[in-house]
């Protein structure tokens, strides 16, 4: 069970309090009506799914209820850092490769 630091509660809590929210830093098209089917479905469905560093979303659902972002290594599962949705990712974080 992972130990995850919630950047809003400013404390580490067991994974049981959280819900995983998938890849982070995705940009929903400003006006979806203007983008092509390709671009829209790429936004909807494709994932980086990298082996290594991954920027991802979690929600402290049994806690403060906030969504936040985390950088986790998907090989070791270790969470390197977490940050609030309106903060920027830590410097030198590569966001999950190709």
């Amino acid at each position: 069970m992972l130990l995850i630091r919630c950047p809003y509660c400013e404390t580490e809590r067991p994974e049981l309090e959280f819900r995983y929210g998938g890849e982070a830093l995705l940009e929903r098209p400003k006006d979806p009506a203007l983008v092509s089917d390709d671009a829209w479905t790429a936004y909807l469905w494709t994932c980086k799914n990298p082996k290594g560093p991954h920027a991802e979303r979690w929600r402290h659902v049994h806690g403060c209820g906030r969504f936040f972002n985390a950088a986790r290594n998907t090989v070791s599962d270790l969470i390197v850092s977490t940050w609030r949705v309106d903060d920027s990712p830590p410097a030198n974080f590569d966001g999950g490769g190709a």
Binding site: M1, L2, L3, P14, R19, G21, R28, P29, D31, P32, A33, V35, D37, W40, T41, L44, R57, R59, V61, G65, R66, F67, S76, D77, L78, V85, D86
Partner: protein, 938 residues
Amino acid sequence: MTQPFRLPSGGRIDRARVLRFSFDGRAFEGHPGDSLASALLANGVHLVGRSFKYHRPRGIVSAGSEEPNALVTIDRGAGRMTPNLRATQIELYDGLVATSQNRWPSLEFDIGAIGQFASRLIPAGFYYKTFLWPPRAWKHLYEPLIRRAAGLGKAPGEPDPDTYAHQFAHCDVLVVGGGPAGLQAALAAAAQAESVILCDEQPEPGGSALHDPARASELSDLLAKLRALSHVRILQRTTAFGMFAQNFVALAQRLSDHIEPSAASGPRERLWQVRAKRIVLATGAIERPLVFPGNDLPGVMLAEAARIYANRFCALPGKRIVIATSADSAYEAAGDLRRAGAEIVAIVDAREGRPIADDFNVIAGAIIDTKGRARIEGCTVQLADGSTLPVDCDVLLMSGGWTPNASLLSQARGALRFEPILQTFVPDVLPPGISCVGACAGDLRPQGDASRPIHPKAFVDFQNDVTSADIALAVREGFRSIEHIKRYTTNGMATDQGKTSNLNAMMIAAAERSVAPQDIGATTFRPPYTPVTFGTFAGASRGELFEPVRRLPSHQWAKAHGGVFEDAGQWKRVSCFARPAETMRDCVNREVLTVRKKVGVFDASSLGKIELAGPDAVDFLNRIYINDFSALAIGRCRYALMLHESGVVLDDGIVARLAEDRFHITTTSGGIGHVLQHMEDFLQTEYTDLRVWLTDVTEQWATFAIQGPLAGNIVQSLLPDAGLSQASLPHMSLRELVWNGSDLRLMRASFTGEAGFEINVPSVQGAALWDTLVDAAERLDGCAYGLEALNVLRAEKGYIIVGQETDGSVTADDLGYGKMVGARKGDFVGKRSLSLPHLAAKGRKQLVGLLPLQLAQTFEEGAQITQAPHPASGTHALGHVTTAFWSATLDRFIALALLEDGRARIGQTLHVPMPAGAIAVQVTSPVFFDPDGSRLRG
């Protein structure tokens, strides 16, 4: 004489008390402090089990949890039968009943042992190569035969009456292993004011010091110090079995199996889930058997085990002992056993530079054969010059050296390295926060290599009957990776997980492949370290504690009034309120007709409810639902649909405007969780500019529907001063009122097609209001109705249920709700996907009604729809039935269905193929009753 092999003094048993026990029906005696294994040895019993495949006689090999052979079933009374327990770990209590396993009719005479004679025919992997013809024989002949031979002990036949517990714990330091190294580490940490949990799988802490008389006082000293500290918790009979990310460790504590059943109380086992800042592994080392022909005979055991039996349990394994070794530690065992009264016939040392031990008959050589059937009687030693020497003995001890017990370290992804001097793997790379101490760290006495002849009867994995020849065979057949060798031979896959066999298998494979041991590597260690009871994982979770039971405010009333309950998620809901002598169907029909003709009340409290507030609430709703809320007046409500971004229907509900900036929203009963998650997701990460807040008020409000032509009368009598009229509270509007001193939210809304209301009161008032409503209804010849009736009522009107009419592929338009999409508003969640080719395509499945052409015919939900009455196998289905009911109102069977191009097919005749024959149906509009909705307005 009882206990002929019991030593007269010393050790850690309490000779003053005698415990009686039975093994395979024979009565024996032992003492407190004994394990079942030690008590059997004290009674001269060595034959305790049969091996898995060849049913060879097997004895006790070790004194600990690494035991591969001595597996027994313990019977503690009804439902309390446990198979596959290790005799070496079972603590003796008065009246203990143990039986041996995997033999028939008896341990001494086991028919299965003929397997031994066929053993040539059934080497590793034989089953992959045969049983191929005739093809059907595998299912009907061979596999049933193989299965009959499968397994070790029997599974219990009755439910387990015992309870299990869970405990979370945090500490600065978790020490695993209570030997000298672990105790020292615990004390050192405690001295730094660190909180410590120390666990040891044995009945008492002490580890190897328990059988080292020289360390007895040091041990009691250490323990006294530790026990005096309040920030140290010592858990005995507690196995650390799983290491998980970030120093999260699972421990299994055995609480009552060591107590006689009549005296045991409380939980049987407890799962500790410990989060430690630091972990110290002090798990000791495991002695390695030697691989020689006949090494599996009862009476052949590990050298240190014999020493433990003699020193700690005061049970002498035998009187004439031969020791085969490649490690110095065996000489200590030899000394202690001799002091205990045994004759050390010879020490056979395989190493070249073996230690000088003048006082023993040390022979340079190796064992190449043993003598005896159910117990060793002698062995053959091959000397350095190749000559052989027969030696008689009643016990043969072996020591191939020690291997740090690093399973937990490996589980935690630490790395091991092969240490040539010790001829074994030792910890190398430690994960952060984890350290090893003592024997586990590789702090071992000198030891060396022992030769391993390849011989069909030289056993490597004692439990699974894997021989050195099997490993050689696997290599010959092209299985090079140690993981392949493991799987082909099953070496290390038995209940001991290869604690005593993995290293030998690896060394043999390395030799066969002519590569260095480190290039072969080890197989993966996995949890659990030793087997853990399923009940321990489950803990208290059973029955209502397995999954919470959520009850509606009307639950007690329903129970007293014929309520037939059904599960819907965690909720107990009422299907119908059956009256005496009423069938389900009669009951549902009565409830339906009562609602249509009079009035009914329904407990809808499980509906999800959200209070939405904030200046941008309308904007938010417009982006989350397909509807346009801009024009929704205060006090008015709207039925609304919500889509997934992929365009399919996610949930539905009613949105009611309480104030300019406040809304009361309902969701489906099962939907509230994911709807809230969905809304919060968009609110927090997409529409971050909106000032809106969501509060889950599902459980704040009890919700009751009052439906039927007389619904207004009930509401009127309940709220006489509210001045309710069709004009002041029209269909789909809401009013906040006060009842009985509490807030009340009254909505005029209907899911039945009748004029009706939904009343919300704070849930503490729920039961009281329910009673009042039912009372009022009954006075008007109305009744309470359940889910079944509701389903009929809504189906008659063609109203959908999300999850029944929708299945994750259905859009609003498919349901006929395309018109709800706000034409003038901008983007909303899911909108873009609606124009993807497949979602915008013609001919999609659409919601329609179906009526069987012959009135008496019925079919069921999920039935398929075809053009032809007798479709050939593989015919394309045009759709399927989503809802199918007897409609009491229409006095006929009706159904809703999703049908390809359904709206265009209205009027057509299609078929529903049922096992007993196809049923012709007419496609109709999904609204069967009161299509223009005149009844809604009362």
